[in-house]
């Protein structure tokens, strides 16, 4: 069936922090500060958004979408949704600092099925929007210390090892365990992005 295509994306523009970001939007472990904590291993994810020349992207909108600690989405499309962690929203958003930095608190996502009988390695879908990006950039965060990365279908669809490496968040230690990843939109060290 053919019909209208989606209304066009337009750039985020410069002046939107109050509009889209509320307190606690960067903490995926609880719906509200006094709500029960989600199940699973709490982790911190830090990083920077950089553009050409390694220039920090300030006030970039970074959004995460991920499964709960068992790899389940609380959504009608997931056949296991009945077992989803009701205290986990799965979504977070934040704006980058003047240094281009972002930070989230979340739980390590569990494995999510892939196409056919495959399983995906733990991953987080990322949307990046900013003034000067005409539409969102889509990428994924994987965890460098996960052995299942070797059999992840999407990672295996990227032939170049150095490009695959751009999707890896590095374990930095700490309590809660912290992972760090820089996302480069253009130029040297450019991150792998996906067709929206």
């Amino acid at each position: 069936m053919s019909m209208q295509s989606q209304s066009a994306w337009e750039t985020l523009g410069p002046f939107m922090d109050h509009a889209l970001i509320r307190e606690g939007d960067d903490d995926l472990t609880r719906f509200t500060p006094d709500a029960p904590q989600a199940e699973g291993q709490v982790i911190e994810i830090t990083g920077r958004i950089l553009y050409e020349g390694g220039t920090p992207q300030r006030e970039g909108l970074v959004e995460l979408w991920q499964a709960d600690s068992k790899g389940i989405y609380n959504h009608g499309e997931d056949p296991r949704a009945g077992e989803a962690d009701r205290n986990f929203f799965g979504f977070g958003r934040t704006l980058t600092s003047p240094e281009g930095a972002f930070r989230f608190l979340t739980v390590k996502p569990g494995p999510v099925p892939g196409a056919g009988n495959t399983w995906q390695a733990p991953h987080i879908n990322v949307s990046i929007m900013a003034q000067g990006l005409m539409k969102r950039l889509v990428t994924r965060i994987y965890f460098a210390d996960e052995p299942e990365n070797a059999s992840d279908p999407l990672l295996n669809s990227i032939p170049e090892p150095d490009v695959r490496a751009t999707l890896m968040a590095r374990p930095m230690g700490g309590n809660p365990p912290r992972y760090h990843i820089d996302i480069v939109t253009r130029g040297e060290g450019e991150t792998a992005f996906f067709v929206d």
Partner: protein, 235 residues
């Protein structure tokens, strides 16, 4: 059933390219490397559901932020439907907007133009669509503003929209323009969308039937989100 055909890619002429010489900021941010295909797994087919409990009272009224505190400028009733490509309504979905004040100034520390701030205007709001996919805002017509260091490029009056839809693939941020504004056809951001029909779809319709009280104008603006199982028509 999960199919790799779900959410077919956007037709190219209906979206701006990442890299456009019309807008210099894009030239240092657009990826150089070709983009990889994104599979359609549960991560792509699911998404956050905000629902009505995300809203406080009056969050869809940007004109009157509190009793007796009304923004300057021309008040408007802005309504429309969020639909997918087949015309099916997207119910219970979050719509967020933000915009400049009547003088063209944003309520943001970085907007330092020499234009008055309006103490009775915050410039952002939220609504959730009803079972027909319909949203409603009351706001004011924003002013135009010049983009610094571009040699007399003025952004036309516009309202920013953010939508989540039902899945990660339906996410959309866009801008709404006003019909007949002479700055629309000169706007570099709007003009970076190749297809004239796709540009026209970002322009609201005057809706006299939605006006009220002799001084509140009505406008209608529908937004089409991506359909899961649809092949978009190529105009």
């Amino acid at each position: 059933m999960i199919t790799q055909d779900a959410y077919p890619p956007h037709p190219e002429q209906d979206q701006s390219p990442y890299y456009t010489e019309l807008y210099r900021s894009s030239m240092v941010r657009a990826p150089k490397r070709q983009l990889y295909a994104l599979p359609r797994t549960l991560t792509e087919l699911t998404g956050p559901a905000f629902g009505h409990n995300a809203l406080g009272e009056g969050e869809n009224d940007l004109w009157e932020m509190a009793p007796g505190r009304r923004a300057q400028g021309s008040p408007i009733n802005l309504h429309g439907r969020i639909l997918d490509g087949s015309g099916r309504p997207i119910a219970n979905t979050l719509v967020e907007i933000w915009q400049a004040n009547a003088g063209g100034r944003y309520t943001h520390a970085q907007d330092t133009r020499d234009v008055p701030r309006d103490p009775n205007f915050n410039g952002y709001g939220r609504a959730v669509t009803d079972s027909q996919g319909r949203y409603f805002f009351r706001t004011i017509i924003p002013g135009a503003y010049p983009v610094p260091n571009t040699g007399n490029w003025w952004r036309p009056p516009h309202i920013h929209f953010s939508l989540y839809g039902n899945s990660f693939m339906q996410r959309l941020i866009t801008q709404m323009y006003f019909p007949g504004d002479p700055l629309n056809e000169l706007d570099r951001i709007l003009c970076s969308i190749p297809s004239p029909k796709a540009r026209d779809r970002l322009v609201a319709r005057r809706a006299p039937e939605a006006g009220e009280l002799e001084y509140i104008l009505g406008y209608e603006f529908d937004i089409v989100l991506r359909g899961r199982d649809e092949t978009p028509m190529v105009d």
